[in-house]
């Protein structure tokens, strides 16, 4: 289980109209300089390059793919929202696939059904994805690229009725989230561990704030933030080679007039949250003595969550190898039912805070990467009601301390289990082409690099027990934050 702010906006359309791929490509401005490529063990050739307009392009070439996936990832999120704009990024994503100047939403939906393709948009805490999936043949790919790039990206109109409908959708999402006690607890923890950061903010805002957002605010936000090549990454996965993909994408961007003139757009974030890969500003460390926070919610099965500020993926001095070690550490601690912290449920110690009682029904962790700072959290769902939260905390901290201070260091079998599980889960979670495209793009945006995705098995396989121990000392050396629902009175 993990938490992701914002919601997927459903599949909508792709147009079948317009010029074919070959014709329009000839008008494209071409640029091949700076291209780098690598071949992943699974066979996909990964190429990164920069388009003439300055945006980056990542191509995963899979010669046998029956489908093609095209994503546009924007380095835009909650940190770009000013006072009074909270929730605006999510609202824009929800309203995005709703018609353009040249095509109504109804026609889009009709053509989607006719072509068997799909497009959508969604917002996370620190990025937005606009995507399309279609059949792999050139006609379908061209249609999808046109719909996504020329229509939706370059010429979105965000009509009033679409924004109003999206506001209703967002308000419903906020209301539904109220009764997700695990999600609510983790959201509070996220805000506590990453205060004021991109990742720490709630992407949907709050109900009152969303009610005040207007269609004009959405349109201005779009013009300001979504025509900035420096903050945009195009990702394509499919049969087509990188140079053809580049021609296709540039042709449709040029035809659509993307990006618009610079006068109306932002190229950087506020200084304190600059996404610059060279000098990210990390969130401040959690203060010592931070008291546990109760969400005030009562539940028959209390939830307890403990979170640490982990290094950002683009923090100075960090390397992809550090990220790999952190991933393995996470799996050692709470990945799977054979993990150290899950043992507090399955085999609680005979003495100590729990005294033979299971800590709860489930013990899981999450590792949410951020460029400036990441979140690592462990949470217990279905806590034992007769165990006070302080004792649950003590039990969790006891396990973590034993690993950090070396009194119970990580073992080779633990590392081997964790690595095998991570590699297996990585393969399972990337069975769909679209997921492979998104994850590669996300790694690229985070500064880990798409190559990390392509070489995941080798990167994880290279992690040593010593590196995991070092990651534990770094991660667990800081102060944790704790958030829980109300526990029954003793």
């Amino acid at each position: 289980m993990n938490a992701r702010d914002g919601g997927e906006v459903g599949a909508r359309f792709v147009t079948r109209r317009g010029l074919l791929f070959g014709g329009i490509a000839s008008a494209a401005a071409l640029r091949f300089a700076g291209r780098a490529s690598a071949t992943a063990p699974g066979g996909a050739k990964v190429t990164t390059t920069t388009l003439a307009n300055g945006a980056r392009l990542l191509v995963l070439e899979e010669p046998d793919a029956p489908l093609a996936a095209l994503s546009v990832l924007f380095d835009v999120g909650a940190a770009d929202e000013r006072a009074g704009e909270q929730g605006l990024t999510s609202l824009l994503a929800r309203a995005w696939v709703s018609g353009t100047e040249t095509m109504s939403a109804a026609l889009m939906r009709f053509e989607l059904a006719a072509s068997g393709s799909a497009v959508g948009a969604w917002a996370a805490g620190d990025h937005v994805e606009l995507w399309a999936v279609c059949r792999a043949d050139p006609f379908s790919v061209d249609d999808a690229a046109r719909a996504l790039l020329m229509n939706l990206l370059a010429n979105a109109t965000f009509p009033d009725d679409a924004v109003i409908e999206a506001k209703s959708d967002q308000r419903r999402s906020l209301l539904r989230a109220q009764d997700d006690l695990v999600g609510e607890t983790l959201a509070a923890l996220r805000s506590r561990v990453l205060p004021g950061s991109v990742s720490g903010q709630r992407i949907d805002g709050d109900e009152r704030g969303v009610a005040a957002l207007t269609p004009e605010m959405v349109r201005r936000y779009y013009r300001h933030h979504f025509h900035a090549p420096a903050r945009t990454l195009f990702v394509f996965a499919g049969r087509d080679p990188a140079d053809e993909v580049q021609r296709l994408i540039e042709a449709h961007l040029n035809a659509g007039g993307w990006p618009r003139p610079a006068a109306d757009r932002a190229t950087t974030r506020p200084a304190a949250l600059s996404p610059s890969p060279t000098a990210p500003t990390p969130p401040p460390p959690l203060p010592p003595g931070l008291r546990d926070l109760s969400t005030g919610r009562h539940a028959p099965a209390p939830v307890y969550a403990l979170g640490y500020l982990a290094p950002g993926t683009a923090s100075p001095g960090r390397t992809p190898a550090d990220w790999a070690a952190l991933r393995v550490l996470d799996a050692v601690l709470a990945g799977g039912k054979g993990s150290r912290l899950f043992a507090l449920r399955d085999r609680p110690p005979a003495d100590g805070p729990l005294k033979g009682r299971p800590v709860g029904y489930d013990v899981r962790s999450l590792l949410e990467p951020g460029r400036q700072g990441s979140l690592w959290a462990v949470y217990v769902e279905g806590c034992a009601p007769d165990v006070p939260p302080a004792q649950i905390k003590a039990a969790l901290l006891g396990e973590l301390a034993a690993l950090r201070d070396g009194s119970r260091p990580v073992t080779e079998p633990e590392v081997a289990r964790a690595k095998a599980l991570l590699i297996g889960q990585h393969a399972r979670d990337r069975q769909r082409l679209k997921d492979r495209a998104y994850q590669a793009g996300r790694a690229e945006m985070l500064g880990i690099g798409a190559g990390f995705e392509a070489e995941f098995e080798a990167r994880i396989g290279a992690v040593t027990a010593e590196a995991v121990g070092s990651a534990a000392r770094t991660l667990l050396g800081g102060n944790p934050a704790a958030v829980h629902t109300e526990f029954p009175a003793p």
Binding site: H298, A301, A427
Partner: protein, 440 residues
Amino acid sequence: MESGARLLVAARPASDVVAIDLRVRGAGSAAESAANSGAAHFVEHLVFKGGGAPDAPPGALDAAFESLGGEVGAQTSRDFVTYSITVPEKNWKVALRLLGSMLLSPAFRPADVEAERAVIRREMAVARGDARRLGIGALAGAAFPVGDPYRLPLMGTEQSIGKLTDADLRAFHAAHYRPGRFTLAVAGPVSLEAVREAAAEAFGGASRTETAAATGNGVSVAAEAGEVPLVSAGAEARPVRAVVLPPADARTAATLNTVFFAFRVPAPRDPAEAALAEVTASLLARGGDEGCVAKRLTASGLAVAVRAEYLALRRGGLLLLSATGRGTADELESALVAELVRLREDGVPPGEVEAAKYARLGQAMADGEVADALAARLAYYDALDAAPDWYEGYAGRVSALTDADLARSVRDWLAPARRVVAVTGPDAAATAPSVAGARP
């Protein structure tokens, strides 16, 4: 297979992973009686404790699976229990062997039984805070005749699991966990022959074959109740109300009310009727705010989510419809009833049937892309004794449905007077007095 195990294999040569979905037919809560209610779920937990060495530590079996690259998931249903795992291609045979050993040779150590009893109590508490689990459990408990095992709670009750002994659990396991009860679906870069060979090695020893039930589907006929008859719509009837009264510790958990309806619909044995039931659910609601009932209720602001699903049970299905929102339970229930009446009297709006069919076909296509979803889809209907060509014929059956078919399902199955009702959330307690004297 010789043992009676049924194999379903979906070869996906391009896949990097192999998904294994094993269902033990007839080992779910419907195999229990009031005396051993909760045994199926308890056994599902205990098999994870492993067998073999008496001092094998808890978690060792989980670690063994995870060292192969996957985590075993398990779920107890009314008709079967599911165990599933997805692993990299190179490890699937070992994973299957380990799964066979886990299911057929658990140790049932007394210490494990006691430890797991406490864990199950925690799981029950989680379920009490989950409106959907509460609501659907209550509906099932009321939608079937008194005495029908489908009425039993999936996990039993605090009281019933407190009484179960390791001998009870061992007996339940011995009676139901036989290779002849297994439905095994495997999807990935595998062949039928390879799966057959690996399954024989995992489940097929001579002694195990002898214990397989002799009946065609592996479920003892003597122990099985007949198909629950559908009550025809339009007969004089009152709604059956099964208002959920959350336990005291759950009352403050939810801020939203949810009203659930259940309607009795056909069992999945007839694949055409099952496809119709799936599309009917999709017609009513999908994705929280799409579908003709969901759209109107969310657009009105009354509901924040409307959901519908076909709960396929071996001896009779349920069509579930729920609305969650800030409105009172009475408002939500009235709105749902009004929408059903409108559908029955005015007909299905143009285009809605096609949209519902498209959504189902899209979901089937999406599942087909992912080995674990595909294996689950294959195993699910087989474990319910649906027709063998369920999967191959699915797209054709859904595509063939007409507006008239959906008009029939709405008319015959969704009579508001035949609804079973459950309410969760803040209004549940207040609703209770209004149903005093309601028909059981």
